[in-house]
């Protein structure tokens, strides 16, 4: 199985450790993982702003970089949601639809494709609050949603539940958006920051030592808000915990 690793632009720039943990974690399962050098971004900043035409060349580049792989895996639900559901600016050739269908968010790849049943190397003796990115939650359905009357499930919880010592804590509004929202975070910074600060306070009240998520973008925003408020919880990407980071 050949896997193409997509490292989203903000992970590349701000959280290289998330890309490294994702790469190493996938390699632990004996996968042949490539990192195509010419990759950039999924086009979300433009699409998100309504500028689909401006996103097209970036989407084409993504397809060009990744079409040869059996699976494309990214440690970001929002980028994967962009590829799978919003990659519509470019002509829908067979190659394009194939790339869209085989692009997976890390958690769903581990859970649904590899069907991982153990992370023997992983131990995380801390209280952890889970944050689901809205695109991963309501776009990719990585967990059941509080608004719907469906059977409860959570793929990230299933995976984290296999980590020794990890204890979940609940926050009051688990499915509430943290206000990152891509370009929303800079164009509507007032509301965005307020939402992030409310989220960070909720996490602090839960007694969490750590907040984890399969999306670095939300974490980057929340961490910035928590630090501004001088709250104590730390933020760590799910790939790092699953790869054996202890703190």
């Amino acid at each position: 199985m050949r896997v193409g690793l997509f490292v989203p632009c903000y992970v590349d720039a701000f959280h290289p450790e998330v890309g490294q943990a994702t790469l190493e974690l996938l390699e632990r399962f004996g996968l042949d993982v490539d990192y195509p050098f010419d990759q950039t971004c999924c086009g979300q900043p433009m699409t998100n702003t309504g500028c689909h035409e401006e996103s097209r060349a970036t989407e084409e580049l993504f397809v060009k970089n990744f079409s040869e792989y059996d699976y494309i895996v990214a440690p970001s639900g929002s980028c994967v949601n962009q590829v799978r559901r919003n990659f519509t600016a470019l002509e829908q050739t067979e190659e394009v639809t194939a790339v869209r269908a085989k692009t997976f968010e890390l958690v769903e790849f581990l859970h649904d494709i590899l069907k991982v049943d153990a992370f023997p190397w992983a131990e995380f003796p801390h209280k952890v609050a889970l944050h689901n990115n809205c695109n991963a939650l309501r776009g990719l359905s990585i967990a059941s949603m509080s608004e719907l009357r469906n059977e409860r499930f959570s793929k990230p919880k299933d995976l984290l539940g296999k980590v020794r010592g990890l204890e979940f804590v609940d926050i009051a509004r688990p499915d509430e958006c943290c206000g990152f929202g891509g370009t929303f975070s800079v164009f509507e910074e007032g509301i965005s920051s307020r939402m992030g600060q409310d989220k960070a306070r909720d996490q602090a009240r839960s007694g969490a030592d750590y907040v984890t998520s399969s999306d670095s973008s939300c974490l980057m925003h929340q961490e910035g808000c928590a630090r501004r408020l001088q709250l104590g919880q730390k933020y760590i990407h799910i790939s790092q915990i699953l790869n054996g980071s202890r703190a």
Partner: protein, 523 residues
């Protein structure tokens, strides 16, 4: 207690105005201490300029008592809605059914409108057709004038807000008295409703006390809900009893019976319809449902979605005029036919105005309904308002993180957040987004489609990263740090790490025993 509690006993007096305050005020929530904090107002509307939603939202957020109360009240409604949902095993099937019934009706609207008109006429109702707001307003005022009527009591109707009816009527010497308590508060304050179900939800009790002190002469220092409601009732009731025409909106119009159904918690639709001999119904043409049996589906969903109560206290059916009286129905288009023709956006006509999308929307809860500067606020407003005026409301579809919670709570399954994204595209293609934004996206598109430019835009490995990369933030002002800290700066990008550790072909060190060290120090 009333609608705020799932098992609330019904049967209290319909005039029990305090009940309304109770549900609007979310009585189970501890209110912040009353204080002198002034109520934030909506945006100033400048002719020819898009609404400054984000500026108005900032003012709302700068009023901590209002912000905390508003967020908590509406979140409380959302939680009550969730509890009601869990009590109905077939909830998701009901939503689908409601959505399908609306789809069927809207795609056969001509047929059902004619059937409705036929049956309403047979019931002795006079039916009027209004192609826009202006026609609606003049039809209503003409009906009143021809009968010498001067004072109109009305129950809550978003359509009349949409038509600007109150101002129109006032200019023509028709006095309008709102009978919904929240709506009456807004009328006395000369302010638009901020929410389709709880119109004065953005006001603290102290705000209401100030409004009543100014307009009704109540004690400005008494913000007791019962006192305020009682005072309002005492002053408004004589006006209601001496009115000579009554108006209601319409929640559902049943084609097979020619009847209209109005759902209220205060019984004020009955008051408005039955106090005078003249009952005028204003309804949008999208309110139709084919059969009476379809009504059950919607009635089960409406109040559960809106307020988290199983049903509104009153579900009033109006079929024909009272003995010796008259009943008129004004069927209003006002852009609905055009909307029906919009391939991406026509399903917004399914909306039953429950407000659940507003209650769940994290942006709405923190910005207040007035900030949208439009009749319809919140998520549903973002996708309806631009159909009325694309330029004026061009900013609204950007007042969303597109998190999708609105779509999930919608009882008729409108894909609200996808339509928000759809509107952004339409606005961008029609030059209705600010030039700086468009240029920024053009630049970002050029950089992100070129590996070379993209790499060049990133900070060098040995330089401290002082600003977000230009593709994330391209404007001169770094807005990120107003409410947040910058992310910590890594020593190198992932790309650089990979190149160093694995070599350009990725073979170097590949498959080597990974260590937990790159699990990294958490921040």
């Amino acid at each position: 207690m009333s609608a705020a509690t799932p098992q609330a006993p019904a049967g209290k007096s319909p005039e029990g105005a305090p009940e309304h305050l109770t549900h609007a005020a979310g009585a189970s929530v501890t209110m912040p201490p009353r204080g002198p904090e002034e109520q934030p107002r909506g945006p100033v509307i400048r002719p020819g300029r898009p609404v400054d939603q984000s500026g108005a939202a900032k003012r709302f957020m700068a009023a901590p008592q209002h912000l905390a109360m508003h967020d908590q009240r509406l979140w409380d409604l959302r939680q009550k809605r969730d509890r009601q949902m869990h009590g109905i095993e077939e909830w998701e099937e009901l939503r689908q059914l409601a959505s399908d019934i609306k789809m069927h009706t809207l795609t056969h609207l001509d047929h059902y409108l004619e059937e409705f008109e036929r049956n309403a006429l047979a019931n002795g109702v006079k039916v009027h057709w209004a192609k826009d707001a202006g026609e609606h307003n003049s039809i209503v005022v003409d009906i009143m004038r021809s009968r010498g009527a001067k004072r109109l009591i009305k129950s809550k109707s978003m359509l009349t807000e949409e038509c600007g009816f109150r101002e129109y009527a006032a200019e023509r010497g028709v006095e309008v008295i709102e009978t919904d308590l929240g709506e009456r508060i807004q009328q006395l304050d000369d302010e638009a409703p901020s929410h389709v179900v709880v119109p004065s939800v953005h006001k603290l009790r102290t705000d209401v006390a100030a409004v009543f002190a100014r307009t009704l002469g109540t004690d400005p220092d008494n913000a007791d809900a019962n006192y305020l409601a009682e005072q309002q009732r005492e002053t408004t009731r004589p006006l209601i009893l001496s009115a000579d025409a009554g108006m209601t909106g319409c929640n559902f119009a049943v084609a097979e019976t020619g009847s209209v159904v109005v759902c209220t918690n205060e019984g004020n639709a009955d008051l408005s319809a039955n106090t005078t001999g003249l009952h005028i119904v204003s309804m949008g043409i999208e309110k139709l449902i084919p059969k009476l049996e379809n009504l059950a589906v919607f009635v089960r969903l409406l109040s559960r979605s809106a307020l988290g109560s199983p049903i509104t206290q009153y579900t009033s059916h109006f079929r024909g005029p009272r003995k010796g009286g008259e009943m008129h129905i004004v069927l209003v288009d006002n852009g609905r036919t055009d909307r029906l023709g919009m391939e991406q956006f026509w399903t917004s006509l399914k909306c039953i105005r429950c407000g659940a999308c507003m209650n769940t929307c994290p942006v709405f809860r923190r910005s207040g309904g007035l900030s949208y500067g439009a009749t319809y606020a919140g998520p549903i407003g973002l996708i309806i308002d631009p159909t009325f005026n694309r330029h004026k409301y061009s900013t609204l579809p950007f007042a969303s993180t597109m998190n999708g919670s609105c779509t999930n709570v919608c009882p008729v399954k409108i894909n609200i957040h996808e339509q928000i994204a759809g509107w952004r595209k339409v606005l961008s293609e029609n030059h209705e987004i600010p030039a700086f934004k468009k240029n920024m996206m053009k630049a970002a598109g050029a950089i992100l489609s070129s590996p070379r430019l993209y790499r060049a835009s990133l900070p060098l490995a040995d330089s401290a990263l002082r600003h977000l990369p230009r593709f994330i933030i391209y404007n001169r002002m770094n807005t990120w740090t107003r409410g947040r800290e910058m992310p910590h700066t890594p020593r190198e990008t992932f790309h650089q790490w990979y190149k160093r550790e694995r070599g350009k072909d990725g073979k170097k060190g590949k498959g080597s025993n990974p260590s937990a060290k790159t699990g990294g120090d958490a921040s």
